[in-house]
Symmetry: C2
Subunit: 178 residues, 2 copies
């Protein structure tokens, strides 16, 4: 059970940002199309409880992820549990009353910069973002490392809303309240 | 999604039954200690809906199983979904509000007799049982094969209650309603 120390920022030019990252010694470690399916709980409002349950398909691998409520106001730090699964877990979840809320498609390029994992995300229907996630043990060191990296990369602000929340907002604007 | 065609019978002498099975050509295919943990749904009464959610540890392997309601009055035929899992799925289930109801420990010896899988179960706190499960495709052929095998083996009756239900009944008798 590791708290996730992570910051997300909207980014207008991911190519330019990638160049800056490479100059600072970052390495590309992977790139894949990802499909994320988010589920609603049969009797708990994840919007209110600030939790999420997701099945991610990344290439040929499937993972189930539980995200607990965010722990502070600045970052997206939260409890996260993730396991590799058989895709049929989805059918079991549906039998138990979990329902798909939304699926999100993105192309994600992953780089490492020291202990920070940088994701360059092109999200269908939403735009481009960069996520910085600390992969070490200490939450405190993680926060410091991420803020220092953001400064060096010229990144500002923090989008605390998930892609799911952002896409649901767009849907609400287009169609009225769900 | 396969319907499970299965009959369970209480048995006073599993050693004698095993001898009869071997004489009819059965083969022992495995024996293991199994621990089954059953969960309550956060907002659905599985007792009423006749469903079950279980994590089984069998030796070093963990499986998650969903069982749907029984489909007839004679057998334990029901929809069953089972996948191999990472044991950490339990923590995710608990985060989502699923709670352990009971754990069941048994020693299970598995034999095959044609298309029927026979389990000789020594269940802690409950006694000895034999389960016959048809492993072919057709539910109709499955029912016929199982009833024929029971006749040949001198088995009578059908315990439709699960080990979980039987153990919960004992608990209620001992302690009064839960």
């Amino acid at each position: 059970m590791c708290p996730e120390v992570e910051v997300k920022v909207a980014c207008k030019d991911l190519n330019e940002l990638e160049k800056r990252l490479m100059k600072q010694g970052a390495m590309v470690v992977g790139e894949a199309l990802q499909e994320d399916v988010y589920f609603a709980h049969p009797c708990r409002d994840f919007g209110t409880s600030d939790e999420a349950l997701r099945i991610r398909r990344s290439g040929e691998e499937w993972r189930l992820t539980y995200k607990g409520p965010k722990l502070d106001r600045e970052t997206k730090t939260r409890e996260e549990l993730e396991i590799v699964i058989d895709p049929e877990v989805r059918t079991i979840l549906e039998k138990l009353g979990f329902e798909e809320v939304m699926s999100i498609h993105k192309r994600r390029k992953i780089l490492t910069l020291g202990e920070i994992e940088v994701s360059l995300d092109r999200v269908e229907g939403l735009g481009d973002f960069v996520e910085l996630e600390y992969k070490g043990e200490s939450v405190e060191i993680g926060r410091r490392s991420i803020f220092q990296a953001m400064e060096r990369l010229g990144l500002e602000g923090s989008e605390r809303r998930s892609y799911l929340e952002l896409l649901l907002n767009i849907k609400i604007e287009k169609t009225g309240p769900l």
